[in-house]
Subunit: 439 residues, 2 copies
């Protein structure tokens, strides 16, 4: 008998790779942060002894969700300015609030709230784009969650940096500081085609190649963005980015609601990734990403919640459901994006987009133990015929009982283990008063 | 001091009528099943004493949700046949399963599961369309939930009845048996234009007028339905129903994804109601109901989950969110269907559609005490700026703590009070085996 750190016996294990397999009455063996075995429970009981053993008799184990696009700190502004179009929302509400309140403390507390909500919802890795990314990284490290930290670049000055050169310099410094953090990676995060000019984009392309990190950007989010770009540059933004050499396997194109058939084919050839944010796109009336068409063209499509101020939750289970439902209606095909495809969008596709597919995104021997358990005994998911279907089309995030990242348990029977909720709630109360009284 | 049955002190009360009001630190006073007062908590503490008193310090009270279209018993088939188009799903999976298994026992146990899930999710009234409506009514009465029982009519024989005359006769008998049940009403439920011929529809129109009950029907659900009707009758279904005299204020037209501008205007003039089922429409790729346009034309639009086999949950909070998000993208207007409008669709609009607006749908003095409480202290809805926004755009149904129907508490601190869960789970386990082994 081999002594290991954690032994989990589960009613179902959904590894995501291979794609069509669900194991019944199987066990996951975790040691030193890695998955070292996945086998029938009868055999596991004979071969392994766990320092911690869990019997999850009515649960499914699956890879943790990968939230491939968010602005974590914006959780502090959840519900503060709803039912408004994108540019009005940004220019007249969000940007003024940020100008007034955004600071290291704002990012620290907002990121804490976001990480708490994400762990509770089964997210084990998030890809962030916001100011004070050093603080976001710090909070991710503190709470033990995996994160891709966006090195944000934008033309205009904020409290974080004065101009695009300064954003890039601070980003490079942060990248360097974080290079030994096992759960943290970085990506360049030029905000959008309409907020970042050619020169910084060219620098980013070169640096991204040198550092071998991805580039993520809001691209083709709205019709207005298309019309504006055509008027100002004579080109749609993707064309401009293509000319700048940015459309390649390192690119995470977030949103992509405005796509022609030609653009889909070209993008597929480029090897770029799409990050689909259905609830944000719906809420801001941005448009409909042709998800099924993109997948059919061979594009890797991952999922993201966007920020809590335009969703308004960071619920990847719900986002996955919305993606699966919406794709069918958009494609006019009820077989489009079936349950397992949606689950892959929320897990392994995100890992691929972030360059982390060797580390996470599936329950595969050798990978990091980034695992979640969902209790399907809840009436909402009964009777169970196909656990994947119940998870994608019926489960609520409160059914997620336990979360591990790199073999460390961040959620134990619905209790967060690395977040001081008492302290957090005091901070939230203070922010609620500030943001209410002093817009 | 007046002694009353129930006194609830709440952080917020959202009555829904008047539309734009949210009361802070107010109390709801319930006696003999009715709301008898709504006033500031300071005054309530001086004027009333409750046999039961609740202090819901971080909660919002609101009217219970009205699920205006479901097939409750189909919960037993949740997830059994996903990712298929409507007619394939119906003809090759659902109807064969029903032919094999549908019975009084099937309807009793499936309805119990549905009612349990609905109460847990804050639904206090549901409008049902299924076979053995006598059993559905019996289960609703047993569990104390309000229900509109559809007297189903369909051309082809099932275990419930042999032909449309038999369906109508059984329906009339049931209507008569139920007439003294305080929480039960009935409506005629001719299934769809493609499953019910003119003669029974004419009888239904006459009988619905005589009995003064509504008529609810799946109408204009898919493009295929339109094309089929045009080929067979030379008319779109709404035109045929209009010629039959059925398009009037008694009509609940369910789905309505296929609508021209003229049809919207004509329907608005008719006074008919629409029941919008966004998640079903998306999952079955049926189309997009032009919700904002219908509301703008003055049509009363209510909400429904449809059956759990095409959703796959009976979660009205989630349905409300999907409706609010989807309407914005469909209308290309991020101000369409704002939070309060979505909440009204899930409450008072459903009451109006069912002819129950004097009884329920808002927290109004004199109405039945059909009330739910949602705890906004959950991290998912923090910080709170606008409780209505947090409920519509961020809350999960697990935050619903208590549910009252006619002043009787059906859910107490997340525990069902009228459903024997142990017995139900045994039944579900038996049905799971039967439906898995013997399709």
């Amino acid at each position: 008998m081999k002594l290991v750190d954690t032994l989990i016996h589960a009613r179902w294990i959904i590894p995501v790779e291979p794609e069509s397999v669900t194991y019944e009455n199987h066990s996951l063996v975790i040691d030193k942060g890695r998955i070292i075995d996945l086998l029938p429970t009868d055999s596991a009981r004979q071969q392994y002894q766990g320092a911690t053993t869990e019997n999850l008799d009515t649960h499914a184990l699956l890879p943790g969700f990968i939230n491939c696009h968010t602005h974590a700190a914006m959780s502090l502004m959840r519900g503060i300015a709803d039912d408004l179009p994108l540019m009005d929302w940004l220019q007249n509400h969000i940007w003024p609030l940020e100008q007034k309140w955004m600071s290291e403390a704002f990012v620290r507390d907002g990121t804490d709230l976001a990480i708490a909500e994400m762990i509770l919802g089964g997210t084990t890795c998030f890809n962030d784009m916001y100011f004070f990314p050093n603080v976001t990284a710090q909070q991710a490290i503190q709470h033990g969650i995996r994160a891709s930290i966006g090195l944000i670049v934008i033309d205009f000055p904020t409290v974080w940096a004065d101009d695009s050169d300064a954003y890039i310099t601070k980003g490079l410094n942060l990248h360097d500081q974080l290079r030994h953090e096992p759960l943290i990676t970085t990506s360049f995060a030029p905000h959008a085609p309409y907020t970042v000019s050619d020169e910084p984009l060219q620098r980013i392309r070169t640096l991204a190649d040198e550092l071998e990190i991805p580039v993520n950007m809001h691209i083709h989010e709205t019709l207005h963005e298309m019309e504006d770009a055509l008027a100002k540059t004579g080109q749609r933004p993707l064309q401009r980015l293509h000319n700048l050499g940015l459309v390649n396997p390192s690119l995470l194109a977030v949103h992509m609601t405005q796509l022609t058939a030609d653009e889909i084919n070209l993008f597929a050839e480029s090897g770029g990734h799409i990050v689909h944010c259905p609830e944000s796109n719906l809420k801001l009336a941005s448009g409909f990403c042709p998800t099924a068409q993109c997948l059919a063209a061979g594009i890797n499509v991952a999922l993201g919640t966007d920020g809590a101020a335009s969703n308004n939750d960071l619920d990847m289970l719900g986002e996955m459901r919305t993606a699966a439902l919406l794709a069918k209606a958009v494609a006019q095909n009820a077989s489009a994006v079936p349950a397992m495809t949606a689950l892959r969008m929320a897990t392994i596709n995100g890992a691929k987009a972030l360059g982390l597919e060797q580390e996470t995104g599936s329950l595969t021997i050798g990978k990091s133990a980034d695992v979640i358990s969902i209790d399907l005994n809840d009436l909402a998911t009964q009777p169970v015929y196909d656990p994947v279907s119940q998870i994608v089309y019926a489960a609520s995030r409160q059914q997620i009982t336990d979360v591990w990242v790199s073999g460390k348990r961040l959620l134990k029977q619905r209790q967060l283990t690395t977040v001081d909720l008492t302290a957090l709630r005091i901070k939230l109360s203070e922010w609620q008063k500030r943001l209410t009284n002093n817009r």
